[in-house]
Symmetry: D2
Subunit: 259 residues, 4 copies
């Protein structure tokens, strides 16, 4: 599995800085530690420690998390701290048919597409063309275009699908769309709504109760990273304090909790 | 998709209590709200609201998270709050060959098996036969036995595989095994170690540095759930304060950071 | 400073359980480890390790936090995790004249009384007589009655004081009282409002803006305790996830931010 | 209480920026919104809203927390999130004799001095003269010099006092001093140790057990601030993730838990 032109590589320098590149002939990467010629990496393996001129470089295989943090984007992304939990709470699995609205730069869309497998499908709604174009480029780079059907559309007009297994809703004002979401979900289908503010959580939970969702859960998570120094183990000084509240529920085949 | 004998169902009562059952002829479920005959649920759909005698029941499709919380177990499980993040950090995907050591009751093993797909494989090491038997029953119920190779073995003797994509290490004292883990991983392969104590984090990180891992990251996460009352939105009074620290790293093809 | 009849003592057994007693003649304390006669403790010192029959007992001097956790109460108390921060944000100091509404069981009232000193005063409003009686007993035990003026009164009728330095507001629905609070505070006077729900925070902050407060800050805090085992240092499994949000502000001598 | 020359004032501009000044004749404050002449503020009151040229200014009374955040310093300060809790756990009150080692820039020393009152005393140890000088200037500005006895001294030589009520230990490597601390404390006296790393917590707790402390508690706290927008209530994006672990204990009059 020696590296060849066309391969994606994460290059990590000794100071921990990383670069995601696709190996190309006659190309070089400019870094604050000097230039690295792509040709010097051909034939190396993932995991190798390469001395290029005066710079030591680690050649690593990009993970999906790498791609997400390095991708082109114009929107706030869904962080791994949230997306991993959402995948489990939405019970995403091979063959699932999932709606992702709105797509933004495509980070969550890519993860959903990865985990629905070849037999599944992600219907990706986005209202703004400039975001959609970025998302498409990202999904294409990840080789997942076959699994995603993009829809440049305002979701105020409703959704085209039915019998959807799981729904990820990440739009500026989600409460008005809860009823449309309910309609396209299967019975017992799972919904996740990403809400930046407590006000949105309040209106979304109220609407989910009215429309016909149960097992409504509201979560937030705080991820804290430690300095990996075994002699002085302690958290980093700062952390992300908030991305969004996560609201989950399951559709019942009757409005408003059957009450 | 009407419910038939043999189907798994989550029954939820109006007080929120849930039961995971497999529909069987001539069976009934005893609850604190009275008995529910399985035969009364045949022909219903997932998501239905069923009035059985004086009890209202919701018939829901079990998710993997439901199975994990309802499964038989004799060990501490890896919580969804941790496992979702581990899946992303280990970059688990179709076709991956992964080692899970030790298996315990099989919660993480099941998730790994789900996400490596049919072309992937999980090698599941466990030293204690009683845990292994429980894990096997759980994996079998989830229909994932084809993807898991169980190994009743003390990992002190090393691992049988090579060129492993990702490794999940969850044993009482992990530091002594870091070198064996390094040997079986591919270059750039991902490792996740679950460490309940700070002392373990210290020894694991030290060992990972010595043996040849980079991008070492140490995380912990706090998940907080809110009472889903839109008029009085606030967190529940108590929460899980700690399960484990999560240590991640990537193998380089040279010992000790090449230093 | 040998212990005498009339002294308060915290007795701690070897299992960590604690008892707050006042030493009395001919009295004994019944514990799950046997009876402890008060007379056996006379002449001992704070900090002593005393073997009484088969039980080892530590004789400790009660702290204010001990008194608060051991006091008689019928209401939720303000926890030290919150009250210490409130004291600083309210800038409580010798000579301050402070209003505490509602008093509840008197935990916060006692702390305020302690720190305003002999030249300060706490005006303690409480609507329910049964709570007031408990608060009085607690304040009396702490020897702080001279510094507290109790008022059995519904605060809907307003407050009797003026030129108040600091105000602690802890009532079920605080927003309607913000204007009355503003009236009795000095210019630049400090307000702290304890709000269990996000809905209350929203209405209180909105009202504070309208009425004439600046430097409005909203905080919450998570305190996490570790098992004090140096070989296996890790947090306890569970923690308090939420007590209340803390809203702070300073009065300006003009309504609504002067806008 | 009109403002006069010599008074301390916090000036807050409309964008929330604050300045701590002492009013002086013929002085002015340069801000990014223009200059503010001190003379324009004479005769105003705390809490006033003053229009100076084109700038709106709020004249506020500085709190101790203001002084701490605005003071001159060369060291990391103890944050209010930690210091408020420490004050309660150390049970600081009028008349207490307290040791503060090392003093650093004097933030904690000032708080201790404020709350021990006129009849109490803080013995403030600091090894580095440059820090001591800064701390003295800060304590002087707060008018608390009568209550503090400064000691320019390496605490490796021990402490000069005895029968100390409470001890605050905040030095780079605290474990070696635990025994000296024990010697100067009263029976049942309270100790708080500030430990940035988990390794320090481990060694401090171990030493406290050996030397003769009980009720050993280890805490950390996470304070999270919300954007005070009632229509979009949510936490700020970033927060302080870690300052230090707080270790507490009480002295018993016998070594090593009397075991």
């Amino acid at each position: 599995m020696a590296l060849r032109y066309g391969d994606d590589v994460i290059l990590m320098l000794e100071d921990g800085s990383t670069y995601l590149i696709k190996l190309k002939e006659d190309s070089q990467l400019g870094t604050h530690r000097g230039n690295i010629r792509h040709s010097d990496l051909i034939g190396k393996n993932y995991g190798d420690v390469v001395d290029v001129d005066k710079t030591r470089v680690y050649t690593l295989k990009p993970t999906m998390v790498d791609y997400i943090f390095k991708m082109k984007r114009k929107t706030q992304i869904v962080y791994p701290k949230d997306s991993g939990f959402v995948l489990l709470m939405l019970d995403i699995k091979e063959g699932d048919r999932v709606i992702d609205a709105g797509v933004g730069s495509g980070a969550m869309c890519g993860l959903l597409a990865r985990y629905v497998g070849e037999s599944g499908k992600v219907f990706a709604y986005e209202r703004r063309e400039e975001f959609m174009e970025i998302a498409k480029k990202n999904i294409e780079r990840w080789g997942l275009m076959d699994r995603v059907e993009f829809k440049l559309k305002d979701i105020g007009e409703g959704f085209d699908e039915e019998n959807i297994d799981a729904f990820f809703l990440d739009v500026p004002d989600p409460a008005p769309y809860i009823e449309s979401v309910w309609k396209v979900l299967k019975g017992s289908g799972r919904l996740a709504v990403l809400c930046p503010t407590t006000n949105q959580v309040q209106s979304v939970v109220e609407r989910m109760n009215e429309v016909g969702f149960i097992r409504i859960e509201v979560w937030e998570n705080l991820f804290r990273q430690y300095k990996p120094n075994p002699k002085r183990l302690r958290p980093f000084d700062k952390m992300v304090a908030h991305t969004a509240y996560l609201v989950f529920g399951m559709k019942i085949n009757q409005e408003g909790k059957g009450s």
